[in-house]
């Protein structure tokens, strides 16, 4: 038996929608190489044989649903601004940088997720988001905007 694909794929581009709600949809981005890192990263968590990783995926999924429904998270500190456009969803173990897209020719009102990383392997001593992840998020965001 083949597993059903739970991801909602865009019919016009390679992006997928992780959650859609009354306020916006939470989508993947496309980096300058045409790849969507966040899909692979979240799917790896979802399909992992490690239960803790699957729990982390469920934790993130719930935050995506909240963001889609309300445009914000119920616990405000779980969302943090990383830069002028870049924000971050924070769960106990994971970080997911994203940006808000006001409108494009295909998608209206969306939160676009750049990538996901684990907090324990991706934080500085001061608790800040490491520069490499900020740079990666900005690079993906720029590429995603170019894709429209």
């Amino acid at each position: 038996m083949t597993e059903q694909d739970p991801l909602a794929h865009c019919t016009e581009c390679p992006r997928v929608t992780f959650a859609s709600g009354a306020v916006l949809s939470v989508e993947s981005t496309i980096d300058p190489n045409g790849m969507s890192q966040v899909i692979d990263q979240l799917e790896a968590l979802r399909k992992s044989s490690n239960r803790r990783k699957r729990e982390r995926h469920s934790d993130l999924k719930f935050r995506f649903e909240q963001l889609a429904a309300y445009g914000e998270l119920e616990v405000p500190r779980e969302m943090r601004k990383l830069g002028p456009e870049l924000l971050e969803i924070k769960t106990a173990d994971d970080r997911v940088p994203f940006y808000f897209l006001v409108a494009s020719n295909r998608h209206v009102r969306a939160a676009r997720l750049t990538h996901q990383f684990e907090k324990s392997t991706g934080r500085t001593a001061a608790g800040k988001t490491p520069r490499k992840h900020l740079n990666l998020a900005n690079w993906i965001m720029k590429g995603d905007r170019d894709h429209g």
Binding site: E3, S58, V75, A92
Partner: protein, 174 residues
């Protein structure tokens, strides 16, 4: 916990993990909301419970899996306690997506009492929820809300400016 050796379906497993995540997220949101409303700082809660502030901080960061007792103790320190209702699996996500209240599943006497106090009408719906039929009851709005609205109107505010309390719609399985 004893295992039966029967493999869990991956779909069920994911749905249950999602439900657990929603419960964890909901508890975390309640704790933060309770702290904000009650004006309690993490230090005050730590002092009330006789634990380190760091331990309270860990709970408020959503780390670990707090016990029911711990949850009750933290709420108690803020002058609150939690109530629990059941909803069909996946209902919280659906309700959130549709921006409405989740439908309850009443399974105990106290659940049923809550929905029978002001009961007026009873419908039996053929909702596909397993082998159980789901009953829906529509009640008048709570009396205290109706009385509160009357008091506002009596104080001089126009009735059209004060919204009427909504009817309470509750589902339960029988």
């Amino acid at each position: 916990m004893a295992r039966t050796g029967i493999a869990k379906s991956s779909a069920i497993d994911e749905a249950v993990l999602d439900a657990a995540a929603r419960l964890r997220g909901r508890i975390l949101a309640l704790m933060h909301g309770a702290a904000e409303k009650s004006g309690c700082t993490q230090q005050m809660i730590a002092d009330a419970l006789g634990v380190r502030r760091g331990a309270v901080n860990q709970v408020f960061n959503g780390r670990g899996n707090i016990t029911v007792n711990t949850f009750a103790e933290y709420l108690g320190a803020m002058g609150l306690e939690a109530d629990v209702v059941l909803v069909p699996l996946g209902e919280i996500s659906t309700a959130m997506r549709e921006r409405r209240q989740p439908e309850w599943v009443a399974v105990t006497r106290s659940d049923s009492d809550r929905v029978t106090i002001h009961a007026q009408r009873l419908h039996i719906l053929s909702v596909s929820s397993g082998d159980w039929s789901v009953r829906t009851r529509e009640e008048d709005p709570p009396r205290h809300l109706v009385a509160h609205r009357s008091r506002i109107i009596a104080s001089g505010q126009s009735a059209s400016e004060v919204p009427e309390p909504l009817k309470v719609v509750t589902n339960w399985r029988s």
